[in-house]
Subunit: 124 residues, 2 copies
DNA sequence: GGTTATAAGTTGTATGTGCAACTTCCTGTC
DNA sequence: GACAGGAAGTTGCACATACAACTTATAACC
């Protein structure tokens, strides 16, 4: 199952570049929350193709840490969370750069094209 | 982390097509074992970019079921395992077809190109 | 306000996975 | 044969994830 292998490889790489700053999964959730603004957990789960229980639990942890607040359609990133996100950004960008370098421009485009296509299939 | 989302989407899709015949992970392991012939668990783990403990546990389950036997460099698929693999093949092929249809030829090539590139990065 | 339906969210439980530490086995050297 | 080193493989523990069942909150309607 190559897609899972792909995910494992990429996750490890991102985790390395993040240097314990933040788990890749948390980063993804925070980023999506910031993007969606005042969202529901259900919406998050759909957007990230995650199970709502996983989202519920991850969000609970982040709430406890003060990174996010609200709920029932009013979930949003706190200033603390926002600062963490900003701090983690350079690391994430370094990971992106590393990946892009490894793949080359064509490979990079191919990866994102493939992901978009799979997204489309998943929402059909 | 889009790669994880990709993996989740694909895993679900393959699981659907497999119809409980066999877990996608097991299929992947069995297939790789059949391909490698008389392999080590460590070799499997490397090939699939899996953690050796996970491989150890998965292989233990499959041994118990009589799907595989041997070890210490002599791991191989039993006739039972081979038959299961053959039975699962049409399902897996259907999943591949479905994915290919969804992605289109370009997207299909892009996905595999991306995976090969990431593989290359992971082994560097 | 009361009722109903449904979406949002949580809890219980089971399974899968990975890190660290450990054990076993094999190979090479003397 | 004895010993050492390293590879192969296992175990303990913690965390991540998902299915099913359940609870809570919200919106619509009367």
């Amino acid at each position: 199952m190559s897609a899972r292998r792909l995910a494992r490889i990429l996750t490890r790489m991102y985790a390395e570049e993040m240097e314990g700053q933040m788990e890749p999964a948390q980063f993804g959730l925070l980023q999506m929350m910031e993007h969606m603004q005042h969202c529901t957990q259900a919406g998050l789960a759909n957007a990230l193709y995650m199970d709502k229980t996983t989202v519920s639990r991850d969000v609970a942890v982040m709430k406890k840490r003060g990174w996010v607040e609200g709920g029932r359609g009013g979930l949003r990133v706190t200033p603390i969370g926002r600062r963490l996100l900003a701090d983690a950004m350079p690391h994430w960008q370094r990971a992106q750069k590393r990946l892009r370098k490894a793949l080359g421009d064509d490979g990079w485009q191919a990866l994102f094209a493939a992901m978009r296509a799979v997204d489309y299939e998943a929402s059909a």
